[in-house]
Each structure stands twice: as structure tokens, then as C-alpha cells.
Subunit: 231 residues, 2 copies
């Protein structure tokens, strides 16, 4: 069933936006009385499409519970970034924060707002395709200091020796609500960057033996956190 995100409610009915109406009428060719799913204020409703509005029939209980994960990702080439955004959304990330890493090869001076707009559009589309209730937030491009100030369980994916692995960490920190993970760029985080974050109470964790591409790390992290949360 098709799912649409709405922001407006009048009396008891949901007001569909222009692009979604185009999709419903022209792409899906729906008629009055057809069923659609609507997400309003993070709740999911089964609705009947009726003369350009959605009439709620009943609320659908969500069984999706998971830790709230924020991935802090380095600026990478556009194609890789799009991929990270789509796949992270598919796997349930709550928030994505791009940041400026010392060893990042990409510069986007002056184009930050355009890039943010583009990235937010990508996660919105990915959310609809994945039938997610919530669209991941991309607040801004952070500096190292802003990352250091984040509240929650804060981790750095590190390839340095003598680092505990992620499984040891996750099994010893079962009751985590929020978890923020910094992923380094292809060239790795600099020693200075890692030391700064450690001084802000970030913990280094390793991902075991595999050499993973930077764009694979988000999927790996979200998969294992999701898995660890299974009952």
C-alpha cells in the first residue's frame, strides 16, 4: 500500500500535499475509496482517499523499536554520500550529521545550504520507499567541537590497535537510548581529531578484522545495532 507523509490536518482529515496528490491521481490512478497509509506526527494511519483528502479509518500500531542512532559521517563524493544516505535511511538511522574531517578530500565551501537541501530530499524519498514512519534528520554540517558537545553514548570507529571491539561495547552497554557514532574518512581520523573526541568522552571501538569501505561502515553499524536489539 502507498504511504504518504502529511503535515496538515483539518477537523479529522489529513490534507495531502500537491506532489502526493499528483502521485495518487496521475501515477497510481487511485479512485475515491481506495486505501492509503498516512504518516502524521510520527503516527501511522490507514486512510481512505476521498476527493483530495485522506480520511482516517484507524491508527496502525508500529512494532518498530530500536536504539536511536546518529551517524556522524565525513564529507565524501556525491555518489557515495547519496548511497550512505539511502542505505542508512533504509536501515533505520535516526539522524545523520555530516562533518568536516581533516583528511576529507571533499570541500563544499559556499554550497552547504544547497547540499543540505539535496541530502534532505534524498532521505525523504528513501523514507517513503522504505515505508519508514520518521524521516531521518540532517541538522547541519558539524565542526569537531559541535560533535564533541553531543549528548549520549558517543563512539568513534577506530582502526588503531588495542581498541575494544563493537560487540564488547554493545553487550556491556545494553541500556543505551541514544548512540552517536563518528565514522572517519577514507584517510582516517587524524590523531589530533581522535584525541579531541576522546577528551570529550568519546569511546574508540573497532569493527573487527575486515577492511571496510567508508560507505559500508554505516550499513554494518546499523545492522549490528539492530541485531543486538532483537529479543
Amino acid at each position: 500500500m502507498q504511504r504518504y507523509f502529511v503535515a496538515k490536518k483539518e477537523e479529522n482529515n489529513f490534507i495531502l500535499n500537491k506532489e502526493d496528490l499528483y502521485h495518487i491521481k496521475t501515477v497510481m490512478r487511485m479512485k475515491n475509496g481506495d486505501s492509503i497509509e498516512v504518516v502524521y506526527q510520527k503516527e501511522l494511519y490507514l486512510c481512505s482517499y476521498q476527493d483530495q483528502i485522506a480520511v482516517p479509518i484507524k491508527k496502525i500500531e508500529s512494532s518498530m523499536t530500536s536504539s536511536r542512532v546518529t551517524l556522524i559521517i565525513p564529507l565524501v563524493k556525491e555518489q557515495k554520500m547519496d548511497y550512505i544516505l539511502q542505505k542508512s535511511t533504509e536501515l533505520g538511522v535516526e539522524k545523520i550529521i555530516p562533518y568536516y574531517a581533516e583528511h576529507s578530500v571533499i570541500k563544499i565551501d559556499g554550497k552547504e545550504e544547497k547540499k543540505l537541501e539535496r541530502w534532505r530530499k534524498i532521505v525523504k524519498e528513501a523514507s517513503e520507499q522504505s515505508k519508514r514512519l520518521e524521516i531521518p534528520e540532517i541538522p547541519a554540517i558539524y565542526t569537531l567541537k559541535q560533535i564533541g558537545d553531543l549528548p549520549g553514548n558517543n563512539l568513534i570507529c577506530s582502526t588503531r590497535e588495542k581498541t575494544q571491539n563493537i560487540k564488547k561495547y554493545l553487550t556491556n552497554h545494553k541500556n543505551y537510548d541514544r548512540i552517536n557514532i563518528v565514522i572517519g574518512p577514507e584517510g582516517g581520523l587524524s590523531l589530533k581529531e581522535e584525541e579531541y573526541l576522546c577528551s570529550c568522552h568519546f569511546t574508540r571501538i573497532s569493527l573487527g578484522n575486515y577492511i571496510m569501505r567508508v560507505e559500508t561502515v554505516p550499513l554494518y553499524l546499523l545492522s549490528v545495532i539492530n541485531y543486538e536489539n532483537m529479543e
Copy 2:
């Protein structure tokens, strides 16, 4: 350091193949005495490049231990297939077996050998990029019966209700050496296909709450199996 796979050894030295020699001399512009890594019969050696051969200096111990995972994947569009092959290789799959699913949209009648050749080339390149010791094997395109005859711990990713989740299965089957997992096509396995495999002692497992694209499932599986194996 660059890593090359060799198949020939003469006396004590490794014979580099033509494409690798081109890479060494023309792309990397190496000189006699430069160090390279060589994989021969699944062992890793530090070598010195010398007049078109590789002279071994010492064997390098591998610390990569993991369950041997075979992913049994439905025929999908070429771009998705390439992606599955590359990512699965990156995440340590041992074997990949494509199969004909009832609901698979792709037909490759008459082109099986060409496709197999292409897929094997992709996993070889992906192995080199991921610095893996072993290149994943792609034996053939299997029928359902051939899948049913596979030895080992056999699983089906199922979205049917009342299926135990993968975490319950993996934590209750800690001493698994070989694990074979069937992934269904976008339209899912048919009831008949699932029942046939269950009659061949395949176990259904679910992947929790997320709706994952067919090309994401291999990454998820390899990530969580790798994670479960961490000490």
C-alpha cells in the same frame, strides 16, 4: 601495499600474471626491490618484486577467522547483482550461489556461462580491492533441488509470521562452521519453494522489523554473522 593473487610457483618464486605485471610496471611504476604482497594457495606472503617475479621474504599470518558463509541469491537486475557481489565480497562471503526463483523477474536463458564468467571477474576484482586472501567461489546457477542438497546449517530468510529471528538462531547455534542462507527475490519465495526447502531441513529465520531491499539483505546477514563471531 599492493596485493596480487598468483597461481604459479617456480622453485621458490611466484610467477606474476600478465595483467598484474602491467599494473606493477606501468600503473604502480615499481622497481626491482619494491615490496608487494602475494596470495598463493590462500596464504599471504610479503615479497620483493624482482625482474617480473615475486621473491617471497616471509609468510604473513592471517588473523581473519569467521564462519564460512554461502549466500544463495536470486537472479536480479545486473546493477543489483554487481552490487551484491561486490559488497558480499567486501564483507567476507565464502561462496555465492545464484539460483532460479519462481518470482524472479530476470531470465538469462542461454547466457549462463557468460554471466558466470562476468560475476567471477567482479568478485576477483572486489577481492583484490578488499585485500582478501580468498576469492569467493561462484560454482554455478542452482536449481531448488541443488540448494536442497547442500550440507551445513541451512537457513531461509522468511517474512512469514511466527518465524524465529536470526539472533535467536545464531545464539543457539554457536558452533556452526558452514552456514548457507537462501535469500528470496523481491516478490518473495513462493510457499511451495519454502516448503520444499523446509522438507530438506532448512530453517526459516526472520530479520526483524525492517523492510530491507533484496540487495541490502546480504550485507545485513554478513555484518551480523561477523559481529556474532567477534570475541
